[in-house]
């Protein structure tokens, strides 16, 4: 036998093992322990561990789903929302990056331009229509990754559940803009100031030169 070889002894089954009786009694001990503990927790007035929290207490671990819910993790990808500018307009610039990145092809955008004379004309465009087919969406989050202006997010914590008909899964711009994040936030984190906005530095062709 080579040096350094670890020899593991084959476990020998004792008479107690082979007769089954002792081992079965031990096993029954384990299951009875759980049984009586569970029974005690389930009796009227019994105290169960709070399953809606992330804890590891022993006892009944069943979550009564629709009535009790575990909070979703911060990174949970829920139903989309369109973030807003400080003035309440949609932040989206209708660049179609999300629509391009979408592997399920569930995003449809109709871009539009600000009219001549509008302060944002040429600087930005906006989605005249922004439609997501949530039924087709696979919640991969690529649209959020692709967005260059933090206009679309999936931090609403809304779990997509069954609706009455397929049409109600098609969310339009108004509905998407009405969603709030888990923190109740609706604003974008990237409100790039444009010459039309109050936060803009003010250097323009006329003023700067």
């Amino acid at each position: 036998m080579a040096a350094g070889t670890i020899v593991i002894k084959k476990p020998r089954r004792t008479a107690a093992d082979q007769s089954f009786v002792v081992e079965i009694v031990k096993g029954l001990g384990v299951t009875f322990k759980h049984f009586f503990k569970g029974l005690n927790q389930m009796r009227p007035g019994g105290v169960r561990p709070d399953v809606t929290k992330f804890n590891y207490e022993e006892g009944i671990a069943t979550l009564q789903y629709p009535e009790e819910k575990k909070p979703y993790a911060r990174r949970f990808r829920g139903v989309h929302r369109l973030t807003l500018r400080p003035n309440g307009d949609v932040r989206c610039t209708a660049c179609l990056m999300c629509s391009t990145a979408c592997p399920a092809q569930c995003i449809w955008i109709k871009p539009a331009e600000y009219p001549v004379g509008h302060a944002s004309r040429g600087h930005e465009r906006f989605p005249e229509e922004f439609v997501i087919d949530e039924l087709r969406c696979i919640f991969c989050g690529y649209c959020v990754e692709a967005c260059p202006v933090d206009a679309i997010r999936m931090d609403t914590g809304i779990h997509m559940t069954a609706l009455d008909d397929r049409g109600s899964f098609i969310f339009d711009k108004k509905k998407l803009m009405s969603h709030v994040s888990q923190d109740g936030d609706q604003l974008t984190a990237n409100s790039r100031p444009e010459p039309g906005d109050a936060e803009h530095s003010g250097i323009t062709r006329l003023k700067g030169h």
């Binding site: 009786v21 079965i24 299951t31 009875f32 759980h34 389930m42 009944i60 069943t62 009564q64």
Partner: protein, 381 residues
């Protein structure tokens, strides 16, 4: 013993009570099993089936799930596989449900009732020894426990027929496994009781109980036989850890793969009734049947440390206590069987066979031999 019309009325009542009670208790056991397994596994178990009465929702701790299952089973399509043997296919569930129900015919669930002497103390003055009595078991057959063996053996037929008539390979395999397993354990089941017969000197169950009332419970007299018989009885019910005939991981659902709701329900019900029957049998043979400890027919007789203080009770009280005792004993055994079912994993098929033929069978033979030797010495004294 009563005779004439009263006999028939009493018998009809007993048959109705047992059949109706067992079938309904089967549904209750379904609930017990679900909730018990849930507790063991730190779950709540099914509790959402509800019924709406007066605008309020009643869940009754999940009891309604059994009822909902029944309703669902009744409404599902009753489909017979085109290649199946129609007659045997339809017959199989009946055959597997009826024997365990029939078994109860010979099991006494209480001492004989003397309707005339209900308020008197047994054997005391005023006790009308000539009055007729009603035995609390249905069959008066002398064969006694042999009926049990006969009926239990015919239970094999149900599974075997179901397996062979379904026109499905999995069913056939399941049926084969069920047949061979049940036949194997039948042997142990019978031989393990031979020792008890030798001690009790009878095959009639009410006389066995009487012996235990007079002397000691069978479990103290025949401890090894109790273990052997209990194991064999569990194997007979085809439940975990002996559920190779319906091993889902290998053969889908075994012999009842092809059975649709209500017929499958009959198999399941038969299985649960069998659990109760086997528990009742074990209670009768090894746990003193309906006897409450220290309770004789005329009242309690504590005979500990030389102190003897009889507490006399009326006949009615004794009968009621005895019947309740019987039910409690059976219930505890049923719970134990359920607990075992949720504790152990399934045996492999070859392990089942090895256990039956190489361990249990020799052990039961040894038990007979030892019993014989001991009896020889005891009787010689």
């Amino acid at each position: 013993m009563i005779t004439g019309a009263t006999f028939w009325i009493a018998t009809a009542i007993k048959v109705f009570a047992i059949v109706f009670g067992l079938v309904n208790l089967g549904a209750l056991l379904l609930w017990v099993e679900r909730r018990q397994s849930a507790m063991i596994q730190d779950r709540m178990g099914p509790n959402r089936a509800s019924i709406k009465l007066f605008g309020k929702e009643f869940r009754v701790a999940g009891l309604l799930h059994s009822a909902a299952d029944g309703v669902k089973m009744l409404w599902k399509e009753d489909f017979v596989p085109p290649g199946a043997d129609k007659l045997l296919y339809q017959l199989a569930p009946v055959i597997s449900l009826v024997p365990p129900l029939t078994l109860f015919a010979v099991i006494p669930f209480g001492p004989s009732i003397y309707p005339d002497n209900l308020r008197r103390v047994f054997g005391s003055e005023g006790w009308n020894a000539a009055a007729s009595y009603i035995p609390l078991h249905i069959s008066m057959a002398d064969s006694g426990i042999l009926v049990v063996f006969a009926m239990a053996s015919s239970g094999v037929l149900g599974a075997a027929l179901a397996g062979s008539s379904s026109d499905n390979k999995f069913s056939l395999l399941g049926g084969l496994r069920a047949a061979s397993q049940m036949v194997s354990y039948e042997v142990t089941m019978g031989l393990s009781l031979v020792g008890s017969f030798m001690v009790y000197q009878t095959v009639r169950l009410e006389q066995m109980i009487q012996w235990q009332v007079d002397h000691a419970w069978g479990i103290f007299v025949q401890p090894l036989a109790f273990l052997l018989f209990f194991t064999a009885a569990v194997a007979e019910t085809k439940r975990v850890p002996f559920d190779a005939p319906e091993g889902e991981s290998e053969i889908v659902a075994g012999y009842f793969t092809e059975y649709q709701p209500m017929k499958m329900g009959m198999f399941a019900l038969g299985e649960l009734v069998e659990v109760m029957t086997s528990s009742a049998l074990i209670t009768t043979i090894f746990l003193g049947g309906w006897q409450f400890p220290f309770l004789k027919l005329d009242g309690f007789h504590f005979e500990l440390f030389g102190i003897a203080k009889p507490i006399y009770m009326s006949h009615l009280a004794v009968v009621i206590i005895s019947a309740i005792t019987f039910i409690v004993k059976v219930a505890l055994l049923v719970l134990l069987q359920m607990q075992i079912r949720w504790t152990l994993p399934r045996f492999r098929y070859d392990q089942i066979m090895k256990l039956g033929w190489r361990i249990l069978l020799p052990a039961s033979l040894i038990n007979i031999m030892l019993t014989g030797i001991v009896l020889l010495f005891v009787n010689a004294r």
